[in-house]
């Protein structure tokens, strides 16, 4: 598979010092060194869905930028190649994808973007793809999706995940800088145009794409935004996109004729059946995140193009539950009004404690105790017998309980009653005496 970058990772140390033009503002004239051993070790770690260190991330990202900066806005790719759509942090399904599509570097891959967000393992997913890119730069091609953006990743989970897993935003910042360097599109054997979203009313030719300055955050509008946001629609001409960015393009858009390509392959839209043709077979959507959001129940697809550009689709489902890693790692997919279910994941002891706490709370025990102790705390002069005080307070909290004041009251009443009876008795006695006389 030919590409603009001619080096292969065969030597012990991957360095492109001789050929690299480091135009990247952050690197200046320096060259980043990672040994293949280190890289292989990092890949092994990531393959197990484990994290590499923050420092390793920084070095990996710097190296990736060196490689990506040499790629054009329209990457030239040879067949055979396997094209993959959105992954969205579904790490175990990416593993499944490699299982059905073949391992890198035996299979050449082109990923159409949206590596992060929504899934629970965006970090491990993106870093694995990046590490594979650095290790096998000619076998692994990555182009940018609309989720490879600072703004979007703060809404859809990648930013939060980086915070959670690394304790700071440093890794997120590194990764978003890499996003800026990702190519925008690719052409396979001059025949298949590949982009994440779709077409732009401001772009008629591939050359126009090449003139875009892509090394920036995805803009809110304009050609670079459109390439990552647009959708095909069953109509004619250009329409407003309900997504709020990009456009809808119809069957009559003449991009293919103008540029001598036979097909546009893109991703960006959930397809329940994994892949879907539009406008006959001019436009193809490939979607590679099975059971998207762990909720949609869809299948995924990858498209294998052989040397002659013959097409073969492979459909695959979400990786089975047993292969999806420890339950402690993941939160649950959302529905409307469903259990948070967190209690289920707690070990037995914690759950018993939680039930016990609830039981106490429901019966007002915790509240009564807290009140009594708080009262004692703020008293200017505390009683000599605090235990007696607390018991008295608690006694008052239970209606109908036998307490000292209650007993006192009862005693008073009894004494009054006794008095009354005594008086009555005296009167009756007198009457009787009188009657007897």
């Amino acid at each position: 598979m030919a590409s603009d970058n001619g080096s292969e990772g065969t030597s012990n140390t991957l360095s492109t010092a001789a050929t690299v033009r480091t135009d990247s503002p952050t690197l200046g004239a320096s060259v980043v060194m990672i040994s293949t051993d280190d890289l292989d070790r990092q890949i092994e770690t990531l393959r197990k869905c484990e994290l590499i260190t923050e420092q390793e991330v920084k070095t990996l990202c710097a190296k990736a930028r060196e490689i990506l900066v040499q790629e054009g806005n329209v990457q030239v790719i040879d067949s055979p190649v396997t094209i993959c759509g959105d992954i969205h942090g579904q790490f175990y399904d990416l593993v499944e994808l490699f299982r059905v599509g073949g391992p890198v570097p035996d299979t050449n891959y082109l990923f159409l973007g949206d590596f992060v967000d929504r899934g629970f393992y965006s970090v491990e997913t993106f870093l694995l793809l990046l590490a594979l890119k650095v290790r096998y730069p000619d076998r692994m091609m990555l182009i940018r999706g609309n989720h490879e953006s600072r703004q979007i990743t703060q809404v859809y989970g990648f930013y939060d995940e980086c915070q959670r897993k690394y304790g700071s935003a440093a890794v997120w910042r590194c990764c978003t800088e890499v996003f800026d360097f990702l190519s925008l599109s690719a052409v396979i054997c001059g025949k298949v145009f590949c982009v994440h979203g779709g077409l732009s009313p401001s772009i008629q030719t591939l050359d126009q794409i090449r003139t875009i300055d892509r090394k920036q955050e995805v803009p809110h509008d304009g050609p670079m935004c459109d390439l990552l946001w647009s959708d095909p629609e069953d109509s004619v001409g250009w329409g407003m996109s309900p997504r709020g960015a990009g456009y809808l393009f119809g069957s009559d858009v003449s991009f293919c004729e103008t540029n001598g390509v036979e097909m546009i392959t893109r991703a960006h839209q959930l397809v329940m059946e994994g892949y879907k043709y539009h406008f006959g077979e001019t436009v193809l959507t490939v979607w590679s995140a099975p059971n998207y959001c762990y909720r949609c129940g869809n299948v995924a697809a990858i498209l294998e193009l052989d040397e002659q550009l013959n097409k073969e689709f492979t459909i695959f489902e979400a990786a089975p539950q047993e292969n999806r890693g420890a339950p402690a790692k993941k939160p649950q997919p959302d529905y409307f009004l469903m259990s948070s279910g967190r209690f289920i994941d707690h070990p037995k002891a914690e759950k018993r404690t939680e039930l016990y706490r609830m039981y106490l709370e429901e019966h007002g025990v915790l509240e009564a105790l807290t009140k009594a102790l708080a009262k004692l705390n703020v008293m200017e002069e505390r009683p000599a017998n605090p235990m007696e005080f607390v018991v008295k307070e608690l006694g008052g909290a239970v209606p109908g309980a036998i307490t000292a004041p209650a007993l006192e009251k009862a005693y008073d009443r009894a004494m009054k009653e006794l008095d009354k009876l005594r008086k009555e008795h005296e009167e009756l006695k007198k009457e009787y005496e009188v009657g007897r006389k």
Binding site: D117, R118, N146, H147, I152, V155, Y156, D160, P242, R243, G244, A245, Q269, L270, M272, N291, Y292, C293, Y294, R295, C296, G297, N298, Q332, P333, D334, Y335, F336, L337, M338, S339, S340, G341, R342, F343, I344, K348, R352, L355, Y356, M358, Y359, E361, E362, H363, G364, E367
Partner: protein
């Protein structure tokens, strides 16, 4: 007293059981009620997350729900979830407003499985009046709600028509607001609690069931609804719950929830809009509509409001919202004869 006693027994029983036995028992007993009660937390937090983002106004919800999760993060939901909750809250409000207008000041609303819903306060703060608003849920939920109301006496209690009278830490009566703890599957218990709330069996009554019926067996929900149509002279039902679940989405949902220990015993009635209609007619309702929330979202709610909420966060995949909405429905059913006519079609 009975619910408390039962709970204490459960506690003892749980403590005595060994782990493998506990795991086997999970499917049938105490854990189901517990996890159902916990769904209130999830919905409340989802609603609060949406309110905080500006999807709709609710100045009362924050009193009942915390904005942070257990691990100290701020609660946030994906945009399609917030949009779905917006549609749900808005359509329910639409029906309630229409009902109140027709039924007049003698109107009566019974919200079953109310959780930490704030509808009463939202209505009162906007100047709406009605004879009474009765909220019903498990006593473990009502006792928590009650404590919040007690603590926020001015903000919440201030909107009651009368001073609040509490009963056994689970019930509260305040003239036009009543909160009672009851198991909806036990009609005798529920009836006695409704009587304690001074319910008028002849007044025009709206029963609201927001994601409630699916948590009991279909036979039990049919029974409950039948009791309502028989006991009340003028009754309408507003029910929001799942629908069209006999597909991959529904199967994945059932599997996901089962992993959390949450069963949906009433899912059989949610197979299709048609089946939901059948349950309503079996329970004694004669007229009404059952619509999926995608239709509601696209056609029944204010287009202006819809545009506004879609702009709050840009939803990256509209298909996700459509898929969710297509699997939820809103039913409004009435039992004729009624002296107010909603012009509903026959069920």
């Amino acid at each position: 007293r009975r619910p408390n006693h039962r709970f204490a027994l459960r506690m003892e029983a749980e403590a005595a059981l060994s782990e493998p036995v506990m795991a086997r028992r999970r499917s049938s007993s105490v854990n189901d009620d517990y996890s159902v009660q916990k769904t209130n937390d999830d919905a409340s937090q989802s609603k609060l997350a949406a309110v905080k983002m500006g999807y709709w106004k609710d100045e009362f919800l924050a009193r009942f729900v915390s904005m942070s999760t257990d691990d100290g993060q701020l609660v946030h939901r994906d945009p399609e979830i917030s949009l779905g909750y917006w549609a749900r809250v808005t359509v329910i409000r639409q029906y309630v407003d229409a009902f109140l207008e027709r039924a007049g000041p003698g109107a009566q609303i019974i919200s079953i499985g109310c959780g930490f819903d704030t509808l009463f306060w939202r209505l009162k703060s906007e100047g709406k009046t009605f004879a009474r608003f009765v909220e019903v849920d498990f006593s473990s939920v009502t006792s928590r709600k009650l404590r919040v109301i007690r603590r926020a006496a001015a903000a919440l209690g201030g909107l009651f028509r009368e001073d609040a009278q509490e009963n056994q830490h689970t019930d509260l009566h305040a003239g036009d607001y009543h909160l009672v703890g009851a198991d909806l599957r036990q009609w005798a218990e529920l009836k006695s609690k409704l009587e304690a709330a001074a319910v008028d069996w002849t007044a025009p009554t709206l029963v609201i069931a927001e994601c409630v019926l699916i948590y009991m067996a279909t036979s039990q929900s049919e029974e409950l609804l039948s009791h309502f149509t028989q006991a009340f002279g003028n009754v309408a039902l507003l029910s929001y719950e799942q629908t069209n679940v006999d597909d991959d989405f529904g199967r994945v949902m059932a599997a996901n929830l089962e992993k959390r220990g949450l069963k949906l015993p009433g899912i059989g009635a949610c197979e299709s809009i048609d089946k939901q209609r059948k349950r309503l007619t079996a329970a004694g309702f004669t007229h009404g509509t059952v619509e999926d929330m995608h239709t509601v979202f696209e056609k029944r709610l204010s287009a202006e409001e819809r545009k506004k909420v879609l702009r709050i966060e840009c939803l990256d995949e509209l298909e996700l919202l459509r898929q969710l909405n297509e699997h939820y429905s809103i039913s409004f059913a009435v039992r004729a004869p009624l002296y107010y006519n909603f012009g509903q079609e026959t069920l």
